[in-house]
């Protein structure tokens, strides 16, 4: 970027309203250690206060997390021997912390100790067990959680070993604590509090002596057990960071979305995190039951089952299922894969016409979504309200009169007493005045397409039918894929099935690139040994305009047409060869630089013949027949110097020839020899009888 552009942006960004900066800074400052929502952060202080009062008020038995240790440290600050000292040389984020146990003559250097690693071996051998101070304060470390355990809450938590001893480092609330067990004295534990931002030296706040080394049960992740914070870190470490990431995704992206999600991460009464429970643990999958509350009922704790599946290559997928069996997935296509599709088929599928504005129609099927291609980005969910069924649709932009100018969430409801009408609500409630009332005007087409365009719910149905790990894999791929070294995110409708067989599926969908431009990408899934995996990802086409259409040639080749602004079609963007399994980009380097606005195409299996309009070097346009092979343009032949109404042109294989036909006041025909297109038309006529005679010869 040029300096002048940097200056521009610097000036622009420097002018961001101070209230936005203040708002952001306040959030960043207070929530640096939290995985939970803003509400969660606000409640954290209450939570910790409660926990402190409950557990440490009388120095009763204290179970172990480092957060608990922090409280212990505060409680027993005075009267401790100052046998050790600690120096923090840098901010907490760099972990450049040095222990200087001056009086004992031992120096311990923490720099380089990761804040993100959890060495379970060190934890189990040295930290697990019960510890007690001279004043009788006790803390215990174990993989077994207890009620009130911070679970996913809390801050960074790392355990590791250095030459001089073993460390447990905890950063929370902008402040760090370090627990240190010297290598030469594994029965003593030195605790240092409030390390964030400190410079200079500081004595150890408290020293614990070992009471016991715990039991075998403390060192095992057993199904049915509640999990301590340490157990979660161990699992997270073993899952390659999947656990906390998935939890964060659930808390932020699906269940605690501040755009209307009904789930809250923690109890609104400030009662604190409940420890999650290990539901099952297999070779390549783990399921936890994590407590959540409904926003509408912030006291009753309900379980969300979080399942993580790890593939052989280390990649992982997750899904979450609530107590009612509704399943949530990562990404913007978080559809419910359940019986709700029966409701969709029974009550919603079919043709609908707006009673007040008949020009507004909806065709709901497994190929058509609620609105035009690409507008329906998310089906937020289904609901059974007793007297009616509803589907909530998140619409990103205006779709003519069918959607309010603002877009947003729309609720469609069909009452069981009157299945011939469908009501659309835009104010988030079915108790409001409907925005539109639709009347059923056509029967539903229940066909699930095997190839070609498929609607969001059609894809949903397909995933249901395929089952296994494919649905999760698909939605994970829809969240983001890497293609050609670039990350594309937010994949969604329109979907096209390019290839489908028992163990293989290629789906093309729209993603967003870094610049925010749409990009069609074909993602292939293969069911190989070990389950479904992503087999291939390749860019399909540059989406230059709003719509896209997939056509099919006679022999099963597919081509994509992209409508451009002036109504003509840009066809030579790509096509998918079922035979080779390759998506060819016809506008790739090496092909003609000029766009081909195609009317039609056909293929003989090896070559693709495209009939359309090419922009000539002179700036004018010509009607041409272009030939492609392996994604490269071999040749093109000018059929006419005139451009005709593109919609009335077509090309086909006919009697061993390539037949191009177009309408110019009357129908005209041109026949080409496929082996020598460059020689020009072997016949050009407006007389259909002459064409027939030629072909009969």
């Amino acid at each position: 970027m040029k300096d002048k552009d940097k200056r521009l942006w610097d000036e622009v960004l420097g002018g961001i309203d101070e209230k936005f900066i203040a708002e952001t800074a306040e959030r960043l400052n207070k929530s640096d250690d939290s995985y939970v929502s803003e509400k969660g952060v606000e409640l954290k202080a209450q939570r910790e206060e409660k926990r402190a009062g409950k557990r440490f008020g009388a120095f009763a038995a204290v179970f172990g997390t480092v957060a608990a240790a922090a409280v212990v440290g505060v409680c027993v600050w005075t009267g401790l021997s100052q046998r050790t000292a600690i120096t923090a040389q840098d901010s907490v984020s760099t972990s450049g912390v040095t222990l200087d146990k001056a009086e004992s003559g031992v120096e311990a250097d923490l720099s380089g100790l990761s804040l993100y690693d959890f060495d379970s071996g060190v934890f189990e051998e040295y930290f697990i067990g019960e510890w007690e101070t001279e004043d009788g304060a006790v803390m215990r470390y174990s993989y077994i959680g207890e009620s009130g355990d911070p679970g996913f809450g809390g801050g960074l938590y790392s355990v590791g070993a250095k030459d001089d001893g073993y460390y447990l480092v905890y950063f929370s609330g902008g402040s760090g604590q370090v627990l240190f067990i010297p290598a030469e004295d594994s029965d003593s534990l030195y605790y240092y509090d409030s390390l964030g931002g400190i410079s200079g030296t500081k004595p150890a706040d408290v020293v614990f002596g070992r009471v016991s080394s715990g039991s075998d049960a403390d060192r095992v992740l057993s199904e049915g057990n509640y999990l301590s914070g340490a157990a979660l870190r161990r699992l997270d470490s073993e899952l390659g960071g999947a656990l906390f990431t998935a939890y964060g995704d659930i808390a932020e992206g699906v269940l605690n979305d501040n755009e209307g999600c009904e789930w809250a991460v923690i109890r609104a009464d400030g009662a604190g995190y409940e420890a999650p429970r290990l539901a099952s643990l297999g070779d390549n999958r783990v399921t936890l039951c994590i407590p959540f509350c409904l926003v509408s009922d912030p006291v009753t704790v309900r379980g969300i089952y979080l399942e993580i599946i790890v593939s052989e290559d280390g990649s992982w997928l997750w899904s979450a299922t609530d107590a009612d069996g509704r399943k949530y997935f990562l990404g913007n296509t978080d559809l419910s894969f359940g019986e709700e599709l029966d409701i969709y088929e029974r009550y919603f599928m079919g043709d609908w016409t707006d009673e007040n504005y008949p020009e507004n129609t909806l065709m709901l099927s497994y190929t058509e979504d609620f609105f035009d291609d690409g507008l329906t980005r998310r089906y937020s969910g289904y609901g059974n309200y007793g007297s009616c069924y509803v589907i909530t649709v998140d619409v990103l932009e205006n779709a003519g009169g069918a959607v309010p100018e603002t877009g947003g969430n729309m609720i469609f409801a069909v009452y069981t007493a009157d299945a011939e009408h469908m009501y659309c609500y835009t104010d988030g409630s079915i108790d409001t005045e409907p925005y539109a009332v639709y009347r059923r005007t056509g029967e539903a087409d229940m066909t699930l397409p095997n190839r070609g365009k498929i609607s969001c719910l059609g894809m949903h149905k397909l995933m249901n039918l395929r089952g296994g790990e494919l649905p999760v894999l698909f939605l994970s791929a829809a969240q983001s894929v890497e293609c050609g070294g670039t990350e594309y995110t937010d994949g969604g409708a329109p979907y096209y099935i390019l290839s489908s067989s028992d163990g293989y599926l290629t789906v093309m969908m729209d993603y967003y690139g870094r610049a925010g431009a749409k990009q069609s990408i074909a993602v292939s899934f293969a069911d190989r040994e070990g389950g479904w995996k992503i087999d291939n990802v390749e860019k399909a086409t540059e989406m230059t305009a709003d719509g896209a259409r997939l056509g099919e040639t006679d022999d099963g080749y597919y081509y994509l047409t992209t409508e451009i602004i002036d109504g003509a079609e840009l066809l030579n963007v790509c096509y998918y060869s079922k035979r080779s399994g390759v998506m060819y980009e016809l506008n790739a380097k090496g092909n003609d630089d000029y766009r081909l606005f195609a009317a039609s195409c056909c293929s003989d299996g090896d070559r693709l013949y495209v009939f359309g309009f090419n922009l000539a070097e002179s700036g004018g346009a010509q009607t041409v027949l272009a030939v492609y092979e392996g994604g490269k343009r071999l040749t093109s032949q000018v059929v006419s110097e005139t451009v005709y109404a593109y919609a009335d042109g077509s090309v086909s294989l006919c009697g061993g020839y390539i037949l191009a036909e177009w309408y110019d006041a009357s129908w005209e025909y041109a026949l080409f020899d496929p082996s020598d297109i460059g020689a020009g038309a072997v016949l050009k006529t407006a007389d259909e009888a002459e064409l027939d005679r030629f072909l009969e010869q």
């Binding site: 002018g15 101070e18 900066i21 708002e23 400052n29 901010s91 984020s93």
Partner: protein, 161 residues
Amino acid sequence: MNAKYGRLCRQVAMNILSNSEDAEEIVNAAYMNVWNAIPPARPQSLCGYLCAAVRNAALNALSWSKRHSCDELYDELSEVIPAGNTVEGEYEARQITALLNEFLLEQNKNTRSIFVARYYCNMSVRQIAHSLGMSEAAVKTRLSRTRSALRAFLSERGVEV
């Protein structure tokens, strides 16, 4: 002040300067400036005021050619208004700023914070994810959507892209 806001301030400074000693110096200088300015210029939010002061001081400490830490951010933003377009002639920075603030006002709090954290505070995706309790993927997606929406927003108002 240091105990309460030090971590964030050092993070902002460090993200720009990529040097802990310089960052510490800048933060201390910013504290001094704030101390001298309060009162009478008491800000609405001390945290936001400090954050802005540290950012400006850190940027001022670097010449344009040395602002490598900002390159990635500017590259991302160049996709909102690509380099070399007509912005300079037709829209002064202050007009775009006004539009940007209008755009941010329309966003929800979370989206706004992520955008400001990334492009104003120079925070990495990872830092934002940790600070706001989100996954990195969610932050990336949100940023991508926001840039896309901003691009459309500016385009609708005549800032050609």
